[in-house]
């Protein structure tokens, strides 16, 4: 038996009997926050932690060369899944760094000619934060609203681009609501207007087909740990023809064509490459399987609970995501109640705060409904059994919380909650 098959078998076995050797762990349905590593990915990484430990930038000996060869193979694997040339891929410490580098790097390099950037209000925090930082430096930024389904309005985008615009940054897939932006249309528009198009693909790579040529993408951010690879590694695609120039954030040794210095973490690069290759190969099958699981979950919830609302488009959405608001339920109590499920109420990066999700607010979801939302993420290792148990758990807790809620009672009596004049206090 090959080692790979053995690893796969072990996984199956532990799925079948989760409680045998350790206490039952919560069901993990937070695949947009992070993903477990695929054992096949881990296996390709291991040798580079131990016997093949060389510095890939050492040019004088075998240890360095074998590490460099592994890094270059990984670079080709990353390039392949997005239809790029390997010389257009640079490794970073993750998508956050990639987004920072793409936006600040381009803005700083071209600042003598252009000073305007365009993005969406629903972008990931690290894009918005980079934009705020650039504003402090004197750049102009347009934050476009989104439609009720979470998608960009192309006419508004076109109107926002001026002759001072250097770059448009629009994410491929939203981390909270999973909606897919029309990348090909955005790319075409940007090319026509002569502005660069950057897209944060942390949630998109391996989930939907991506092609930097067909979609006219100039810069793309990629994450390792969202696609069953390791944390601490990502990549930035930077177009060569026509060449996009960047001012580096981390300078020094001159690695990654001067765009990103620092010793490359060989095992992490190898892990990202392998994760991309597996994702590319298995995407068609995996999408079908995840769509089935998601529909199973959503249909069961809808059948058993009234007053549940889906946030964001269902049609333009990755298969592994649902974002649902449970009306007449207090959000924090729900999260605390379903502690056998690892799910998120909003993006992981912001979920430690109690502010309602800015993404949901941008869709026009009111504050109360934003507070009662759950993000449910399905992935490669999610089973039908887990889906069924999760549904049961959520239905049980929502029902219980609603029984205790005076608002739920009023709603059932036909009172329009919105018409009530609350005492100010």
């Amino acid at each position: 038996m090959t080692t790979q098959a053995r690893v796969a078998n072990t996984t199956e076995k532990s799925d079948a009997a989760p409680g045998r050797n350790r206490p039952t762990r919560p069901i993990y349905l937070d695949y947009q926050a992070t993903t477990p590593m695929d054992p096949r990915v881990l296996e390709t990484m291991i040798p580079y932690f131990t016997e093949k430990f060389g510095n890939p930038h050492s040019r004088s000996h075998t240890y360095g060369w074998e590490a460099e060869e592994a890094v270059e193979k990984a670079r080709a694997q990353v390039a392949h899944i997005i239809g790029a040339d390997e010389r257009e891929v640079i490794f970073t410490s993750g998508a956050t760094e990639s987004n920072n580098l793409a936006l600040k790097g381009v803005a700083h390099f071209y600042k003598d000619r252009k000073n305007h950037l365009v993005t969406l209000v629903t972008e990931h925090k690290c894009v918005l934060d980079s934009m705020r930082h650039l504003e402090e430096e004197g750049f102009q930024v347009t934050y476009l609203p989104v439609k009720q389904d979470g998608l960009v309005d192309l006419a508004e985008l076109e109107a926002a681009i001026t002759d001072k615009t250097v770059i448009v940054s629009i994410m491929a897939v939203n981390n909270e609501i999973g909606v897919i932006q029309p990348l090909a249309e955005i790319g075409k528009l940007c090319r026509k207007k002569g502005v660069f198009f950057h897209t944060d693909c942390a949630q998109a790579v391996g989930k939907i087909p991506l092609d930097v040529e067909a979609m006219n993408i100039d810069l793309m951010s990629i994450s390792g740990h969202k696609i069953y690879g390791p944390k601490g590694i990502g990549a930035l695609y930077v177009r060569r023809k026509p060449r996009i120039r960047l001012q580096a954030l981390i300078t020094g040794g001159g690695q990654e064509r001067g765009m990103r210095s620092g010793t490359l973490p060989t095992p992490l690069c190898v892990g990202l490459g392998e994760a991309c290759e597996i994702a590319e190969r298995e995407m068609p099958e995996e999408s079908k399987r995840l769509t089935k699981l998601r529909d199973r979950f959503y249909n069961a919830i809808k059948a058993k609970l009234p007053e549940v609302y889906l946030n964001g488009s269902l049609e333009h959405r990755i298969p592994g995501n649902l974002n649902l608001s449970f009306a007449y339920v207090e959000g924090e109590s729900l999260i605390l109640g379903i502690n056998d499920l690892s799910v998120s109420s909003g993006s992981a990066c912001t979920s430690a705060s109690l502010e309602p999700s800015y993404v949901l607010r941008a869709l026009g979801v009111d504050e109360a409904m934003a507070h009662t939302s759950l993000r449910i993420g399905f992935g490669r290792f999610t089973t039908e059994d887990e889906v069924d148990r999760a549904v049961q758990d959520i239905v049980e807790h929502v029902t219980k919380l609603r029984e205790m809620s005076p608002l739920w009672e009023m709603f059932q009596d036909g009172v329009d909650i919105k018409s009530i004049q609350w005492a100010a206090h």
Binding site: F53, H57, C126, P230, L249, T263, N339, V343, A348
Partner: protein, 367 residues
């Protein structure tokens, strides 16, 4: 299997088994440290344990540690965006020099930072951040940081020190030293590549380069490299008990034997790391020597790894006043805690054979 000798520990160290075990365990975990559910909190706990371990290795407070993607990023975070003049020594790593002003603190022939020159350059009252490394990557020379800090303090300057090569090899005491900022790297002390840390003291402030998400108290955004950080912590703990006396003996033995072969050692009178030797065999170009050694199964380096792809004499040796010809012949050996006497024997034997073969050929060519 043919015997091989890895004598390039300053480029990267093999991973410690403690670090490997910690990483394997961490890779089995799924959570994002920012998630509030149990899976997320477990990942967060690993990071905080590692923060304690790293802090303890270098005598800093855990809350002063900011994890980064490595030493280069730590240097960038410390220096780029500083509102002070950055005054670096002439022998700093490229990732420091990239963020420093054109003016450089001179070094002596032994590769030690020139304290008189530092004092003179601080005399102009410009608010300054001084950057002097704890130990040099090419020569291993340990810098007089306590003196640097004393002089800097007297002139109201802050001090950053790149301790990537020193941490885990010689005792480092951030608080005792009184430095304001210190960069360290995991893969130089037996942790994984792709993780490092910046230590930020009370007086220092930094301008975050990577923003959004609010991790590391807003000073370094991005989902943390959980396994890497766990490996860093385990390596730091292991490093506190590593005995360097064996390495020192092996290094002394190596230096004695290469001197016997006619080699010249740079900065041999200076206080150096226990593991680093920068040497030349007069008449044999460094590029020729490293390739010939690799064919014999010995991994060494010609200058720093980051720049070893580029053929140019080392700026460090140049700053020490070494002639261009001598600098073009310099190679570096660096040892570590698993280096054996057999590896040293292999290196010495190979060096002897190469000297005889190439030395004779060159003499024939000259004749």
């Amino acid at each position: 299997m043919t015997m091989r000798a890895y004598l390039d520990w300053n480029a990267t160290s093999p991973i410690r088994h403690e670090a490997r075990a910690a990483m394997t365990a961490a890779l089995e975990l799924t959570g994002n440290p920012s998630s509030v559910h149990g899976a997320g909190r477990a990942a967060k706990a690993l990071i905080e344990d590692a923060r304690e371990a790293v802090a303890s290795l270098i005598g800093a407070g855990a809350n002063q540690i900011v994890f980064t993607s490595g030493g280069s990023e730590a240097n960038a975070l410390a220096l780029a965006g500083s509102d002070r003049r950055v005054l670096a020594s002439a022998i700093e790593h490229d990732s420091v020099l990239a963020h420093a002003g054109a003016e450089r603190i001179k070094v002596t022939n032994e590769g030690i930072v020139d304290l008189d020159d530092l004092e003179a350059k601080l005399g102009d009252k410009t608010p300054t951040l001084v950057s002097v490394m704890l130990a040099n990557n090419e020569t291993g020379v340990i810098q007089p940081l306590a003196d640097v800090i004393r002089i800097a303090r007297a002139h109201g300057a802050l001090v950053h020190t790149d301790a990537a090569q020193a941490a885990g090899r010689v005792p480092v005491d951030f608080l005792g030293l009184g430095a304001d900022l210190m960069s360290i790297s995991a893969h130089k002390l037996g942790g994984p590549q792709g993780v490092g840390a910046l230590v930020i003291g009370e007086r220092a402030t930094v301008a975050p380069a990577i923003r959004g998400g609010g991790q590391e108290r807003g000073r370094r955004a991005g989902t943390e490299n959980v396994a890497g950080i766990a490996g860093f912590g385990a390596a730091a703990t292991a490093a506190t008990v590593t005995d360097w006396r064996t390495v020192t003996q092996l290094r002394d033995d190596l230096e004695q034997r290469i001197t016997g072969l006619g080699a010249e050692i740079f900065a041999d009178q200076a206080t150096r790391l226990p593991n680093t030797t920068n040497l030349r065999l007069p008449g044999i170009a460094a590029e020729t020597l490293v390739i010939a050694l690799d064919l014999e199964g010995v991994a060494v380096s010609a200058g720093a790894a980051c720049s070893s792809g580029k053929v140019r004499p080392s700026p460090v040796l140049e700053a020490m006043g070494v002639s261009e010809e001598a600098a073009s012949e310099a190679i570096r050996t660096s040892l570590g805690w698993t280096t054996t006497a057999e590896e040293i024997d292999l290196f010495i034997a190979a060096l002897g054979r190469i000297r005889d073969r190439i030395g004779q050929r060159d003499m024939r060519a000259a004749a």
